[in-house]
């Protein structure tokens, strides 16, 4: 069944979109990430204009994060004060990100900018996660001692300290603000919620206990992506609600299935799989940049001032 998307102005197969949403939702439910880093390149691939893909991808992440945070809330695994501090940073980052996105669009380098960000961040996070999870897996095989989760670093010496009860932390608000700003910035330019950056940053940089990380990350991602969606809708008119609806429908169903599969796997196995997935996406995009494209020219409607 073909469906004409009013904002993207392309006709696409509705079941294909449901399927795409479903696959991404499945992975998102399994790994506890929003899935924006997958949906945006997939949308490019089926012919949705990049600007629409980024804005609509953010909208889809809102839905999966709401669904996820409600599940975490029942387990009381959401640190609200931490979420709010991350959020404040997130808004600042998101505002700057939208501005940079518009500036890059004018220069005609927005594709390159988005792709480079993808390669850089996905590659970095993927490699770090793979290394960490493989080590954890080997340790589990050998049955060695578990490493301390909470290590004191220079981060703990900064001023403006604040108590985060649910996380059991007494640290400066500056690192969470900075992490929030970085993730908000990425959310705006890449159409991602930033879960795959936020989660490792909270564990490794802020020293938060793993059990509250997913819920807290999702909590603040809801607001950052909702803000991003709104900003894109108001400044660029690039949110396609019909496209979002289909992705969301597929996504929430996929997420249910993914969650059930996810609980059967071991934590390290899950992290290794996610790391491999993240690396695969980053390598694919890197190759696109390095290999000579078949068509050197591109046609874009509109003359940008």
């Amino acid at each position: 069944m073909q469906l004409y998307l009013p904002i993207a102005e392309v006709s696409v197969n509705a079941f294909l979109l449901l399927g795409l949403g479903g696959i991404v939702g499945f992975l998102s439910g399994m790994f506890g990430v929003g899935g924006g880093f997958l949906i945006t390149p997939l949308l490019f691939f089926i012919g949705v204009p990049p600007a629409v893909a980024v804005a609509t991808g953010a909208n889809q992440v809102v839905a999966s994060s709401v669904s996820g945070v409600l599940a975490q809330l029942r387990r009381k695994a959401v640190d609200f004060p931490m979420g709010i501090v991350l959020l404040l940073g997130g808004f600042a980052g998101s505002g700057v990100g939208i501005y940079v996105f518009q500036w890059m669009t004018r220069l005609g380098q927005v594709d390159l900018f988005v792709q480079l960000s993808y390669v850089l961040f996905l590659g970095l996070i993927g490699a770090m996660m793979l290394q960490e999870s493989l080590r954890a897996w080997f340790r589990a095989q050998k049955g060695g001692p578990v490493r301390r989760s909470h290590v004191h670093t220079w981060v703990h010496g900064l001023p403006f300290k604040m108590k985060f009860r649910a996380s059991g932390l007494y640290i400066s608000v500056l690192p969470p603000l900075a992490v929030g700003a970085l993730v908000g910035f990425l959310a705006a330019i890449m159409g991602v919620g930033g879960g795959f950056i936020m989660v490792p940053a909270m564990i490794y940089l802020l020293g938060m206990p793993t059990k509250v990380v997913v819920g807290t990350s999702l909590f603040q991602i809801i607001f950052v992506t909702a803000f991003t969606t709104l900003m894109h809708a108001v400044t660029n008119q690039t949110v396609d609600i019909l496209l979002a609806l289909l992705l969301i429908l597929g996504g929430v169903i996929g997420a249910q299935v993914g969650t059930r599969v996810g609980v059967r796997l071991k934590a390290e196995q899950l992290r290794i799989l996610l790391a491999l997935l993240v690396l695969a996406v980053s390598i694919k995009i890197a190759l696109d940049l390095l290999i000579q494209p078949g068509e050197l020219y591109s046609v874009m409607p509109g003359v940008l001032p």
Binding site: Q2, A63, A233, I241, A244, L296, Y297, S298
Partner: protein
């Protein structure tokens, strides 16, 4: 307007022996949610006041979509990666252009009349100005033609006009699914010896309708409400999924 009146006068003045009587299968195309391209039928007949002179008579049908500004970019290798470097801006390039003929364009149409009526694809595009930041816009325009022909936005359909007994003609033109809204001009030319002896034009209105119209207008006119609506949709869907999941589990 003055030019148009003059042209009409010129057409009307010589009592030419042959003229076109034409029709369209439809004069509007609605882009609805299930829109997947459309086919329009252009048909007509040659009306003669006197017996037909000797020699072949030919027909050309063109369909032109609303012109839009376009930026053509070229990628180049810089520091090992392929990035957009040069760009050419075109103020108005047709968003759709199809030219259907009874025979090869090169042999049925003279250069003078091509220049005058802007019939071939090259003329239809090059008639409009190209503001360039680089040396050679021709190369960029050729690239745009190539890309848009591949996207089926530009179509050269030589020999696609059916012409029966030098009198009745018809052409089927397929409009692709990724149509731009606006007025589509259909032109029909009657030619002898490479010269246009009569021309007719009609307009087809292409418009988003129903849900598509509503959503597009909302996004353009009330972006804040539209954005909030998108977020509400996501929140309700996320909450609904969570609630449904709990029900299934319980």
């Amino acid at each position: 307007m003055k030019h148009l009146a003059l042209a009409l006068l010129l057409f009307a003045a010589p009592a030419h022996a042959e003229s076109i009587v034409a029709g369209l299968s439809q004069n509007r195309v609605s882009i609805t949610a299930d829109f997947d391209g459309s086919e329009i039928l252009v048909y007509g007949a040659v009306k003669r006041d006197a017996p037909a002179p000797d020699g072949p008579v030919e027909v050309i049908v063109t369909v032109e979509g609303p012109p839009t500004p376009v930026t053509i970019r070229k990628k180049d290798r810089r520091a090992g990666i392929w990035i957009n470097t040069d760009a050419v801006h075109i103020d108005a390039a047709p968003s759709f252009y199809a030219v259907a003929t009874t025979g090869p364009l090169a042999s049925i149409l003279s250069d003078t009349d091509d220049l005058r009526y802007r019939i071939t694809l090259d003329r239809a595009i090059r008639a409009v100005g190209a503001a360039t930041e680089t040396g050679d816009p021709a190369e960029f325009i050729a690239a745009m033609e190539r890309i848009r022909i591949a996207e089926r936005r530009y179509r050269i359909l030589q020999g696609a006009v059916e012409f029966t007994e030098d009198t009745l003609f018809r052409a089927d033109i397929v409009l692709p699914a990724n149509l731009t809204e606006g007025e589509y001009t259909v032109r029909m030319f009657l030619l002898r010896d490479g010269r246009v002896i009569d021309a007719q034009d009609r307009v087809i209105g292409v418009r988003k309708e129903g849900l598509e119209r509503f959503l597009f207008n909302l996004a353009q006119d009330q972006p804040l409400i539209y954005g909030l609506l998108s977020i509400l949709l996501a929140v309700v869907a996320g909450w609904g999924a969570s609630a449904a999941f709990r029900l299934v589990r319980a």
